[in-house]
Each structure stands twice: as structure tokens, then as C-alpha cells.
Amino acid sequence: MGRVGFFTDTSICIGCKACEVACKEWNAVPEDGLAFTGMSYDNTVTLGSDTWRHVAFVEQRRPLGNQEPGVGDMDFRWLMASDVCKHCTEAACLDVCPTGSLFRTEFGTVVVQQDICNGCGYCVPACPFGVIGKRESSGVAAKCTMCYDRLGDGQEPACAKTCPTDSIQFGDLDELRERAERRLEQVRAAGTASARLYGHDEGDGVGGMGAFFLLLDEPEVYGLPPDPVVTTRDLPSMWRHAGVAALALLAGVAATALPIWRRRG
């Protein structure tokens, strides 16, 4: 089985949140608040242990291509995007997990083994996208599995299955990348010059994302980091610095007991 992934084309997202519901239902993800946030139609706010698909709603006083928004003379566009775990090629959560609970599946996705995780929480600050969280009720880390159980049965993930506009597309990652390039050209040619791909490039800071996006604005507008880098890229240097510091501590303490200090007591 080759690597599979999501291509989330936000230009055709209608903000219906069917993906959020399907994900919750299929994966039995607990309810995590039904609050009015005042953030447009968003009431899930952010990804976390109990939100594996999050639809962002952004209201901007800018035109969407040549569209007539129909609100007087005002420019307006409404950006919607269904965010999800990126299933990074170089996944920080997986790298830092001290129990081996997080692992890479045969589909190239990154999954938490709920029965192994002891809830150390290291994966939470390691993730450069703020995806994974520690579930209050169980005490262990939880995030999108790309419906590992469904994949094993030849089914596509619940969110992609339910998406009514095919904004969420699931499939072979290489094929999705090719399709995304074509789609980007199409959207741009149709007048939305601000369209860009996010996470499709294997040369980026996480080695390419298993779930990538077509966005209509800068990534940070949707709450995504503009240039995420897997933290473990710097780990060899961190170990070198920590090693030197440890040796310096050993030498420093030893030096304080040398006989040259005797006279001064």
C-alpha cells in the first residue's frame, strides 16, 4: 500500500461541517463544548484531542475573484477551510513520543496507540500545527487517525466520504499532488490569484504533509503556521550543546575542589 493522504481544496468548501460531524461519529470523539464563540460560524475553534476536523471561517473585506458579494458597495469574502492533522513526512509528535505509542502506519499516516500512550504530553508542544492534544477523560493523546480502521477495510476516511462538494479529497498522495497542481492553475485562471498550495512540497520544513491544502490566503489567516519546521531537525545540535554543557558542569564542579583553592579555604 502506497502513501495516502488528503487534499483539502478550500476554494470549494461550503462550511457545512459535515466532516466534523462524520469524524466525531465514526471515531466516537467526545463532545468538547457547544459554545458560541463569536468567530463567524466557527464553534470548534481549534484542533485538539476532541476535534480532529475543524472548519475555520474567515470573514474578510476583500473580493473573492470577480465575485459580486451583494452587500452594498462593500467587498466581502468568506473563507472556509477544513483543517486536519497533516500526517507529516517528518512528524515531530512521532519523533518525540517516548513510549512508541505514536507510529507510522502502512498507509504512511501517523497514529496514536491509545493502549500504549501514558499521557506524557510531549507530542502536544512538539506539533508545529497545534493538532494533537491530551484528552481529559482518558488522559492520553488523541488526534486524527485518517480513519485507520476504515483504510484497513478499503474505505476512505469518514470526512472525505461525507464531504458534499469534494473539498476533502482522499487518495494516493502522489496523485493528489498532481491533481492539486492542475486545480491551482484552474482556480487562478478563473480569477482568484491569491490561491496557493500549502503543504504539498516535499522540500518544506516537515518533508511534505500527508494532508495538504489549497488556500485562498496566507496560511496564518486560517491559523496555520507559514513555515513550520519539525523541531527534531535541530535535535542533533541540541544534543551536542547539552553534551558540552554536561561535560562543562562535570569539569567545573571538579575544578572547584582542586588543591589550588586550599589556601583560600
Partner: protein, 337 residues
């Protein structure tokens, strides 16, 4: 398996027409805005473009779930334990039995507190043993687990042999062994917090191990001064002075190098208090602390408090940098530019 999408595991091809839709392609909004008859524009869209550099001001990162009293407390206690073991080993080998005892007992107590904090912070404490399933050099927590596995029994052995007065040769060997591993216990925690996406921690990874080593040495020296007799506390006073100096130099360098990312560090009252207490305690220790037992106790207490302030300050500054999207977004934009 039937599906409506075309890229499928079974390769069936059937396309929905919606996915070819091109929002924004219809209409003549652009043209109308450019025409002079439309007159001057009104409303907020006329001014300089509003910059959308976050999603409703929400942080990009998820806040670390680590509890401050557990993990910041462990950063302090782990450092104190590791450096105390090294100080105890040096004291043991240079004929300072009472300073050695202070170091061993301090390490034993701090180690106990460390284990309590680390296990208490787990979401499933009863599964702490799962840490020993694997050894992963990519995970400082895994490496740290194994460092503690090498260090813990030796520190316990050294402390227990001292307190019970039994097996002196084994106790001596364990003292030296724990003293050799101690510096690793005191500095790996820097790699632990730096190996995250938290901006103020990650970007400080060059100085953090030295800051932690210095802070650990200052704490261990302080405790040695506080509890050991003046005649044997010489190395403790010098360790404290050296540690406080290294800690302050590393902190200053880090704040300078991080530029705008250093804001949470610079405005941390805990870090300023930590520096002041460490330096004051260390200076008092090597001056009046050499003659006056009371001064030595006060200086030692100040050093311990200073080290704790520094660790909690670093912890909080990291939390602050994780919770504000500007430290994530603007830093990454700067690097892209």
C-alpha cells in the same frame, strides 16, 4: 465498495462536478471597482489593507499540557539532584565527608521529588513504565528516562548507604557513579523543552543547556553552603559562584540572540528575580559566607530560590510564547523573508 470520489483505493473513477467549480470566476467586481464613475471608495476597505496574521488571535500551537508545579518543579529538582550528586562525588574524593553527605541526601530527596512530579504529570500515571518500552534518541524524554534509569539507582544507593551507615564501599562507588551521570540529568532537560515547537524554548536551544547547567550548579552549591559546615563548604561556594555566573551569561546571550522572541523572557519578573537571587547568593557565599554560618545559610537559601525562580520563569516564558500567535507567525515570516 462504491464511492463518489474518483481517487479511490480500488481505483474506480467517478467525478463530482462540484470539485471543478471556480468560486469568484463570475461577476465583474474587479472591473467596477477600477472604473472612475464608481467614485471614491467608502468604508474600511479604502484604508491600508488590514493584516490578517492570525485566526481570531488564536495561538497556532496547542498549549503544553504540562503542569507548571510538576514540570517546572522537575526542571529545578532534576538539576538540583544531578549537580548535588556531582558535588557529593567530588567532596567524597577530596576528603570532605560532611559535604558529600549533604550532596547525597540532597540528591536522594530531589530525586524522589522528581519521580513524583514526572509520574504525577502523566495522564495515565500507572503506565509510566511504558517509557521503558523503547529507546529513542529522537525523543529527549526517552533519553532522559534512560539517563534517570542509570542515575536513579546509584543516587538511591549512595544516599541509602550514607544514611544507614552500611556498605560504605558500595556507597562510595555509587556516589562516584551518580556523580558522573549527574551532569547529564541536569542538562538533558534543556534538550527536553527545546525539542518542541514552543518558540521561546526551541530557538534558545544553544544557550538553554548552559543556562540549566549553571542554574543546577548554583542550586547544588547553595544547598551545600546551607547544610555543610564552613570548613568543608569551599567547593560548594565556588560551584555556586561559577554556576550563577554561567547562568547569567547564558541567559543574557539567549535574550540577545532571540531578538523579538526574547520578549516573554525579558519581561519575566521570575527570571529577573532568579538572576538577582543567584548572583547575590553566590557573591555573599564567596565573601561573608566563608566566615559566617548564618550568612552561608542565607546565601544558600537565596541560591536555591534563585534557581527555582529561573526554572519557573523559563517555563512560563515558553508558555507565553506558545500562547501568542505572533511569536509563531512573525518568527517564521522573518525566516522566510
Amino acid at each position: 465498495m462504491t464511492s463518489q470520489t474518483d481517487v479511490r483505493l480500488d481505483g474506480s473513477a467517478e467525478l463530482r462536478t462540484e470539485r471543478e467549480a471556480t468560486p469568484g470566476s463570475a461577476g465583474d467586481r474587479r472591473e467596477r471597482r477600477r472604473s472612475p464613475e464608481a467614485g471614491p471608495e467608502k468604508g474600511p476597505e479604502k484604508g491600508p489593507e488590514k493584516s490578517y496574521d492570525s485566526y481570531y488571535g488564536r495561538p497556532v500551537l496547542n498549549e503544553p499540557t504540562w503542569q507548571e508545579h510538576d514540570i517546572a518543579g522537575y526542571l529545578f529538582l532534576g538539576g538540583l539532584a544531578g549537580a548535588s550528586s556531582t558535588l557529593a562525588a567530588v567532596a567524597e574524593l577530596t576528603g570532605r565527608p560532611r559535604l558529600a553527605r549533604v550532596g547525597r541526601v540532597a540528591a536522594l530527596c530531589a530525586l524522589g521529588g522528581s519521580f513524583y512530579s514526572l509520574i504525577h504529570d502523566l495522564g495515565r500515571p500507572e503506565r509510566f513504565i511504558n517509557m521503558l518500552r523503547v529507546f529513542k534518541v529522537t525523543s529527549p524524554m526517552s533519553v532522559g528516562t534512560w539517563i534517570l534509569t542509570a542515575y536513579g539507582p546509584q543516587a538511591v544507593c549512595a544516599g541509602a548507604a550514607d544514611l544507614s551507615g552500611r556498605l560504605p564501599r558500595l556507597g562510595r562507588a555509587a556516589t562516584v557513579g551518580a556523580g558522573l551521570v549527574g551532569p547529564a540529568v541536569a542538562t538533558y532537560t534543556a534538550a527536553l523543552i527545546c525539542d518542541t515547537a514552543v518558540p521561546a524554548w526551541h530557538e534558545g536551544f544553544r544557550e538553554m543547556p548552559f543556562l540549566f547547567a549553571g542554574s543546577a550548579a548554583a542550586a547544588a552549591g547553595g544547598l551545600g553552603m546551607l547544610a555543610a559546615p564552613l570548613s568543608e563548604a569551599g567547593p560548594a561556594r565556588r560551584v555556586a559562584m561559577l554556576g550563577a555566573a554561567v547562568e547569567c551569561v547564558a541567559a543574557t546571550r539567549m535574550e540577545r540572540r532571540l531578538g523579538p522572541l526574547a520578549e516573554p523572557l525579558k519581561r519575566s519578573p521570575l527570571l529577573r528575580a532568579g538572576e538577582a537571587l543567584s548572583l547575590a547568593g553566590a557573591l555573599a557565599g564567596v565573601t561573608v559566607g566563608r566566615r559566617s554560618r548564618i550568612a552561608a545559610v542565607a546565601a544558600g537559601a537565596a541560591l536555591l530560590a534563585g534557581s527555582a525562580c529561573t526554572r519557573f520563569g523559563i517555563f512560563r516564558a515558553g508558555m507565553e510564547s506558545a500562547n501568542d500567535p505572533k511569536y509563531t507567525v512573525q518568527w517564521q515570516r522573518r525566516k522566510l523573508a
